[in-house]
């Protein structure tokens, strides 16, 4: 047995040697007038696509900031984006975060990490390393841990649950002139859909004066949507909440609604989350079927972002600008503002600047102001309502951010 251990030891020794060489601090080769900003997002695996879009947003913003003269308080220092892949598991995200704080000691701030559970793992590391992190993740837990170095730019999940129905009520009233009264729910029985439907049934609907007239739960995959849509036609609800997880189910229901003459916004159909408004969905569902479908999301490209949308299209061939792009774009500008306020490229100073800043109305995140509360949540963060119109999901509400009039039945 003694001899067998030898190859192992050699391998470990080799590993050690590699590790040792890599540990030697790198010489500071870059010009001092450069500020390193981390972007830790999924670039490989299941979530590579949203990660890639976040990267586009980040790159565009850094180019714009640098072209406009960089960080003036630092003598026009340029921002430099340091990309890190957080992969598709919590362990990989933690590893990437550890790599970021260990390997990039001159990083002053970062934006991370798309999925809530990744952001949680990443910020456990960055909190201990005292590196400030901006995130678009929703989970309330992120800013419920008493952390000092994480800043949530979107409304949290709990806040979104409270906001979305009143927002839709307001939208309905402004579009049709009267408040909706009846609601139908079609949901599949997967975890997150059930959670959303449950919250509505157990209070949210009543709080908003809505009457549940139809409540159907199905198990994916759906084989025939006819009975469901027949019921919808019979009860004629003012709002239909449709919460599918599997795209094929969504397709089936939308096709059936089209067949029954209920599509094109004739029955306002509402989903939650970003999945139904991602460009990928067009690979499966014809845009004409999606016409009129509404979703509430934490952020979206809105009025005033037209040039950005155009640039994203020409530079990256992205058909429209989702939350992932615009939010990351906004993060870079927020970082620039914090650097201006801090006056030095130092992570503690940037964190302090983010905690104390009051940057006025938000330009790239919906609603509220560029200010964070004690927990690190952006003050008065709102949501956007997005509707499929002519093959593109566009912001239709709140009105000051709307890029188009809502398609809504005027009864």
């Amino acid at each position: 047995m003694n001899e067998i251990s030898r190859p192992t030891l050699t391998r470990r020794a080799m590993l050690a040697a590699t590790a040792a060489t890599l540990t030697i601090p790198k010489a500071y080769a870059q010009s001092p007038a450069e500020v390193k900003v981390g972007l830790l997002v999924p670039l490989s695996g299941l979530y590579a696509r949203p990660g890639a879009v976040m990267k586009m947003g980040g790159e565009m913003a850094v180019d714009h900031i640098n072209k406009a003269g960089g960080v003036k308080a630092l003598g026009g220092a340029k921002l430099k984006l340091v990309l890190l892949d957080c992969g598709d598991t919590v362990e990989k995200a933690k590893n990437a975060a550890q790599r970021m704080v260990a390997q990039e000691p001159d990083l002053v701030v970062a934006s991370a990490a798309y999925l809530s559970s990744f952001t949680l793992a990443v910020t456990e590391v960055t909190e201990r390393a005292q590196l400030p992190v901006l995130t678009l993740s929703y989970s309330d837990l992120i800013t419920d841990r008493g952390f000092k170095y994480v800043f949530q730019t979107s409304a949290t999940a709990a806040s979104q649950a409270r906001q979305s129905l009143p927002l839709l009520m307001k939208l309905a009233q402004s579009a049709s002139g009267k408040l909706p009264k009846t609601v139908a729910i079609i949901t599949d029985n997967t975890g997150s859909s059930i959670a959303s439907a449950k919250a509505m049934r157990e209070g949210l609907l009543k709080e908003n004066g809505l009457d549940l007239v139809m409540d159907e739960t199905f198990t994916p995959p759906l084989s025939d949507a006819t009975p469901l849509i027949q019921k919808v036609r019979a009860v004629k609800p003012d709002l239909l909440f449709f919460l599918p997880t599997v795209i094929s189910d969504g397709k089936l229901v939308l096709e059936k609604m089209n067949e029954f003459g209920l599509s094109q916004g004739r029955v306002p159909t509402i989903s939650f989350g970003i999945a139904i408004a991602e460009p990928d969905i067009l690979q499966t569902i014809n845009p004409s079927l999606l016409q009129g479908v509404i979703t509430c999301v934490g952020s979206w490209a809105t009025k005033g972002h037209e040039e950005l949308i155009a640039e994203l299209k020409t530079r990256y061939n992205e058909p429209w600008m989702t939350q992932n792009a615009i939010s990351t774009y906004g993060d870079m500008w927020l970082i620039k503002d914090a650097l201006e306020k801090a006056g030095k490229a130092d992570k503690a100073a940037v964190a302090e600047a983010l905690r104390t800043m009051d940057g006025g109305p938000s330009k790239y995140y919906p609603g509220g102001i560029l200010k964070f509360d004690d927990k690190g949540r952006r003050v008065d963060a709102e949501m956007t309502v997005v509707q499929w119109q002519n093959g593109i999901p566009v912001t239709i509400f709140p009105q000051k951010l709307a890029m188009a009039e809502p398609l809504w039945p005027k009864r």
Partner: protein, 595 residues
């Protein structure tokens, strides 16, 4: 114990070097990798303890791992208990879960077992999502971090993990060297043979899964401490179970070094690939990693450890000049004419009835394999059970030692009805057997193969070794006792099987076509051994379909045809019995024989 310590020495040296390495690495990222290597090595060892040694592949070890992780997370969040206590608690939970999982699942074999195991973590994943534990984080302890395992110096994590790994290695080693390990390896190589050798396979498997689950639980609990975030996907996910399989299979299954080698290579390589390539060519790291694993599996299908070991042994064997000729290890080459039975052998007719069979019947659907068979075996006799192919001999044997249940009739051993007892219970009661199709434990040495059979009588390891050596000597295999079973000839395998049955000191030995597949001279050698055993007072029942070599060997014949007793008597009368001749040779031979 000193043996155990000596076996741990290489591990301790490796651990010492690893600890030194960890102390000099100040980069927190490399340190995290060093910690994770140990975590996955420990998890691989846990998997190895069940699947590596018993051969029952578990695709569901994440179940225990995840329960451990959630124990730490929930225990700290809701009860503010420190992980120092929660890790042992997680081990208990993992162990209990192992028993709960094992009890129903061990009814299944092979692929069915593997697939059933897959279901447990998947089910738990949804249960924990449904319970609302989609995302848990271990609360940060700014005041007293050490008490909650939140070390500010990342090196401490590595050292704690190292201590844990050493404990697991010590446990694995202790198991490996005891009858526990022998039982597991025996089950892996051949579950039926293990049962026949007196091993209570279900009990040992349950012990193994409980221990394995306990270790996995503790490792999962520590993993939660390292990651600080627990989600159902990250601890119950398919990738977690797969990680245990990957490191073990890469390194070598069924050895303590396998998972260590696997983790020490794969985890850093994956991480280095991630670090170096993922930002530039996202996804390429997975491709390279996958291809590398495929190549290694193709080159070393049993894992790196076994490949290296086999090659090393071969090289050493080549260095030592091969023995000039076969030593006279086959001294039993005897003239064709068998010697007369020695006068010293007591007359079996005086022996008391050891085994009594009455009205035994067994049918498979419409086929009546054994019908109303009855006979007696007296102490000291050699009973030959013969009959043409398909006469029901092997079915009768399987009924005799509990591998299948009769439809009617009874089997009395010393006056006790044994119907319904499991094979290992019959073995304990003194019935040993060999198999028609040989069932050696191929990777084990002859001596170890035989030792497996000794535990049923031996009080301790020492005695088991003595019994085994004694049995090996009795069949004349002492010269090859150190060889692994895979290198033996058919004759040697037959004799080894005989020795394995003998090691359990059986009072009745059932030999199933022990002479099948042997050349003429070889058969004679085995016959001599059997005769010698009979002389030593072992009662033997032997099945054959050829009468020739049996005539000189047995005291009494039981002839079966179409499942029923055709004749029962001493060799001389049976060989002249017209019905026997007819069954074997056809009608016209009857006339000729009588002529």
């Amino acid at each position: 114990m000193p043996m155990l310590l000596r076996s741990l020495a290489p591990t301790l040296i490796a651990a010492l070097i690893y600890a030194c390495l960890a102390l000099f690495v100040t980069n927190s990222y490399y340190q995290l990798t060093l910690t994770l290597v140990l975590v996955w090595a420990s998890f691989g060892l846990s998997w190895n303890l069940l699947s590596g040694y018993t051969g029952l592949i578990s695709f569901g070890h994440a179940a225990f791992f995840g329960l451990g992780a959630y124990t730490t997370a929930l225990g700290q969040i809701y009860f503010d208990i420190t992980p120092w206590l929660l890790i042992p608690a997680a081990a208990v939970i993992g162990g209990v879960a192992g028993l709960l999982v094992g009890f129903p699942t061990f009814r299944l074999r092979g692929h069915y077992f593997a697939l059933a195991m897959l279901a447990y973590p998947l089910a738990l994943l949804y249960v924990f999502e449904w319970l609302g534990y989609q995302e848990l984080t271990l609360p940060i302890k700014r005041d007293n971090p050490f008490a909650y395992m939140q070390f500010s110096d990342p090196r401490v994590y590595t050292l704690v993990a190292l201590v844990m790994l050493l404990m697991i290695v010590a446990i694995t080693r202790a198991v490996e060297r005891s009858r526990f390990g022998m039982a597991l390896v025996a089950i892996k190589q051949n579950e039926a043979a293990a049962e026949a050798a007196g091993i209570d396979t279900l009990t040992w498997k349950l012990r193994s899964i409980a221990l394995s689950g306990a270790i996995a639980g503790a490792v999962g609990a520590f993993y939660a401490v390292v990651l600080l975030v627990v989600t159902p996907q990250s601890v119950f996910g398919m990738l977690v179970s797969a990680q245990a399989l990957t490191v073990s299979m890469f390194g070598g299954v069924g050895s303590v070094w396998g998972p260590l080698i696997g983790a020490a290579v794969l985890i850093p390589v994956a991480e280095i690939l991630n670090a170096e390539l993922s930002a530039r060519l996202p996804g390429i790291q997975g491709v390279i990693f996958g291809v590398a694993i495929i190549i290694v599996i193709l080159v070393a299908p049993e894992g790196v450890f076994w490949k290296v070991r086999d090659r090393w042994i071969k090289r050493r064997a080549a260095a030592v000049p091969a023995p000039v000729a076969e030593p006279a290890s086959a001294p039993h080459v005897i003239p064709f004419v068998a010697p007369a039975k020695p006068a010293t052998r007591p007359d079996w007719r005086d022996g008391k009835i050891l085994l009594s069979v009455r009205g035994l019947s067994k049918s498979f659907g419409g086929l009546k394999a054994v019908q109303d068979v009855g006979f007696e075996i007296r102490e000291g006799m050699i009973l030959g059970i013969i009959g043409p192919n398909g006469a029901g001999k092997t079915t009768l044997f399987n009924l005799l030692n509990g591998f299948s249940l009769p439809n009617a009739g009874g089997i009395w051993l010393d006056g006790v009805n044994m119907v319904g007892r499991k094979p290992h219970e019959l073995c304990q009661a003194g019935v040993g057997r060999t198999f028609q199709v040989m069932r050696p434990f191929a990777r084990m040495s002859v001596r170890d193969n035989v030792r497996v059979g000794a535990y049923v009588r031996a009080a301790n390891e020492e005695e088991a070794r003595t019994f085994a050596d004694d049995a090996v000597a009795r069949v004349g295999l002492t010269a090859v006792a150190g060889k692994v079973a895979a290198e033996l000839t058919t004759k040697e395998l037959r004799l080894m099987e005989l020795a394995r049955a003998l090691a359990g000191k059986p009072r009745l030995l059932l030999l199933d076509e022990t002479l099948a597949g042997l050349g003429h001279g070889e058969a004679e050698e085995v016959v001599v051994v059997v005769q010698r055993l009979a002389r030593e007072g072992v009662t033997i029942a032997i099945i054959e379909h050829t009468m020739q070599s049996m005539v000189r060997l047995v005291d009494r014949f039981l002839v079966l045809d179409h499942g029923a007793v055709l004749a029962d008597g001493d060799p001389a009368s049976v060989t002249r019995n017209p019905r026997v001749i007819e069954a074997y040779l056809g009608k016209k031979w009857v006339n000729r024989a009588q002529a």
